[in-house]
Amino acid sequence: MLFNSLPFLLFFLPGAFAGFYLCARLFGKLAIGWLVGVSLFFYGWWNPAYLILLCSSIVFNYGCGLLILRPTDVPRESFRQGLLVLGVGCNLLLLGYYKYLFPLLHGFEHFGFHLVRENASVVLPLGISFFTFTQIGYLVDCKAGMASGRRFIDYVLFVTFFPHLIAGPILHQREMLPQFSREETYHIKAANLAVGVSIFIVGLAKKVLVADSFAVHANALFTHSTAVHSINPPLIVAWLGSMSFAFQLYFDFSGYSDMAVGLARMFNVRFPANFDSPYRSTSIIEYWQRFHMTLTRFLNLYLYNPIALWITRRNAGKSAAGSKGTKTASGFASMVIFPTFFTMFLAGIWHGAGLQFIIFGVLHGIYLSINRTWRQLFQRKGQPEATGLSLWFETAWKISLTCLAVLIADIFFRAQSVADGFSILRSMFLLNGGSLPGNITRFQAAFAPAMDFPFLRTRALISLMVALPFVWTMPNVLQLFSAWEPTFSTPRSASPIPLKWRPTAGWAVFCGFLVVVAVLEIIKSGHASPFLYFQF
């Protein structure tokens, strides 16, 4: 079930909400059982058969966690370590089977090895990447003593609570479960409901009204590329299409994250922030601190840091030079560049099974490495800070460069193949044989139904011209609702336009209008379009 689908909005959410507080009134904290039930129903709506997979994964990980946590002298450290390796390994195997096995086997066909039937594949279970990562994090936390043993029902709720089940945020047990231990969680709070509903509506509008509009223009470019036809996209179409996708991704994920935060808040629960205006970042490092923040946190905690730590220890043990840390070129390369590159390489693979996703990850690995090198070499403490106009230009330049780098990587995130990705890139930078204006009419006529009429191309341009200043100046949900602490974290910076949500008539009317427009749009389109991070 999708947050932006009519069954969810009209039946599931009101039912889940009313049922929870009714159960809470009747049975107190046993209402957790209701939430678990509706969350499993929410998951099973897509395909009930995969409930078995989800439940098996939960039982297995809970069991592993219990064994790791057993506070006796019997299980030795190596036993706990072994259990952790087994648990994490099984989770990765599960993910590997569903996400990568068949694409990999089909990949061998390029080399003449036909290992599986031509159309053999397996349906990717909904949210498998997210619930697997959540549980891997739990196991590691158990081993590190940062998770506590809980009742099974609590653990199931932690993994399946529907606002985060499908596409995150990736949570820690310690972030969510204590909130369900509090008595006040089980009473309707008008303030939380008003804030949660308003945040949810803002997110819904971002997804339905903005992201899905950009999708039309992005799809025109990415679904009709060189694989289907030999026409290279012309310069303007390549730029408009790829920028449209960048904004689709932005508003899609921002919308999803807002909806998740809003939904949780309706149940008196707060989530960590997952999105904080990444296109305002002045560097790629900052970009990853603002985009998919809980994934970045997960990668840092469970991948980057352990690798960097292991290398540091290894280097320190090897020689005296090693103890100089990142001050030497080789130390910097091994302790910073290698973990960065490796982490982003795996992040790329996590995003999908295809060479284009590896390129996406590698590009970000390169960007981050350059960024870190730059900081290491050229950023000195005590340097005079730019002020006034020069600060404005410096910031604008940094943001533009970051956005361009992200835009280029995003092409591979969306392209159907590496060849398509490079074809679009060549067109963007006039390397496709100089088809600047010549192909436009031909391409325009060809691109049905989205880009083939000039007014739609103009619409794409106008949408981008509106979206750019919007994402750079308007407050995001963290800033808009900052007085109500929508998430655990505070926004990284203040918004240039200091707009704040308040429970006033004006905001009530605005949100009321927004929800009508969004719902009518869903009805009109006849279906709820999936999120980009759906079925991940």
């Binding site: 289907v228 009321g512 427009v517």
Partner: protein, 337 residues
């Protein structure tokens, strides 16, 4: 906070009410495909002119682009009309046009795009609502109030209300700007006169009703500009219940009026499409058409075409494609004679 939530609900309800009222009562020439209205009037005019038993090839734009009625007429010895209209129309309306054009002894060949067989005919699309509001208001006015409101909320968003309001305002302030749209709403006779005068032809545009010849055919369509992926050759398969009802009713009505009805296919773009699985779905489709009381006169693979035969969309053949497609239809028609 409770007041805030109540106000929000009230605001949402108020907006719904205003939206429905605007769609019900405001009339203005909003942006729409007015040329389709002219197209319908001209096709009616062309069909009415013919007094002998004729062949009417009825369908969406695949017929408009892909059929040469002149060639059919020459080959079959009977007058033929290209009654290709628009694939976005409601099936009911399309069939009504065919029914009103047919006379006893005529043959109607239905070459419908797969979507006509698959969509729930009780719901309206945005295209249908917008065009009905723009140039076919009577189709809305005829509906009972409950159905009207259902259609408004099914097929439109608040932007349509805003468009109606702003166009109504714009029409008062700058009437000249909307003249062209209003001209297309002229009586049928006026549209026919414009067509006969030849002054309204516009070769620079493909989508101009006045460019048709006297059989309803488009002129030359040179080039192959379609890069979209073709639809599955397994479509159509089972006919949706509401579409089946509409088609059955049409076939019975035509039979009562001694009009023969036959079915064919819209063209398939097969580049990059798996073409192996069409036979099973065709047999399902054929048996559904049998139940309706009509027959399918051609095999689906007779209308499989390569990309070079498509003009600017997956249903729109260019001149070369049209020539081949028409020849194949003629063969099929000869077989049932």
């Amino acid at each position: 906070m409770k007041t805030y939530l109540i106000k929000m609900v009230l605001a949402a309800a108020a907006l719904c009410l205003v939206h429905a009222l605007v769609l019900l009562y405001v009339r203005a020439p909003i942006v729409a495909e007015y040329w389709v209205r002219e197209l319908i009037e001209l096709k009616r005019y062309m069909a009415a002119k013919v007094n002998r038993p004729k062949i009417i090839v009825l369908g969406g734009s695949n017929v408009l682009f892909g059929i040469d009625a002149n060639s059919i007429e020459k080959a079959m010895g009977n007058p033929a009309i290209n009654f290709g209209l628009h694939g976005g129309m409601r099936l009911e309306d399309l069939l009504a046009e065919g029914a009103s054009a047919a006379k006893p002894g005529d043959t109607i060949v239905l070459l419908l795009e797969p979507i006509f067989f698959e969509d729930d005919q009780s719901t309206w699309t945005e295209w249908q609502l917008v065009n009905a509001l723009a140039w076919n208001r009577s189709s809305i006015d005829e509906l009972p109030l409950r159905k009207k409101v259902a259609v408004f909320f099914q097929a439109s968003n608040v932007d349509l209300s805003l468009q109606l309001l702003s166009t109504a305002l714009g029409q008062r302030l700058f009437p000249g700007h909307y003249e062209q749209r209003e001209q297309t709403l002229a009586p049928a006779q006026v549209i026919a006169e414009r067509y006969l005068s030849g002054k309204f032809r516009d070769e620079s545009r493909v989508y101009c009703a006045y460019n048709l010849d006297d059989h309803g055919d488009f002129g030359e369509l040179k080039g192959a500009f379609c890069s979209s992926s073709g639809i599955s050759v397994a479509r159509p398969s089972h006919i949706a219940p509401s579409a089946k009802v509409a088609l059955s009713r049409f076939v019975s009505l035509m039979r009562a009026r001694h009009v023969r009805v036959a079915f064919g296919y819209s063209p398939y773009l097969i580049d990059g499409v798996d073409t192996r699985n069409w036979k099973a779905s065709e047999s399902v489709f054929r048996s559904d058409i049998d139940e309706i009381g009509a027959q399918v006169i051609e095999q689906r693979d007779a209308v499989f075409f390569r990309r070079e035969y498509f003009y600017n969309g997956v249903f729109h053949l260019n001149s070369e494609g049209r020539k081949i497609r028409t020849e194949r239809l003629i063969d099929a028609l000869r077989r049932i004679e």
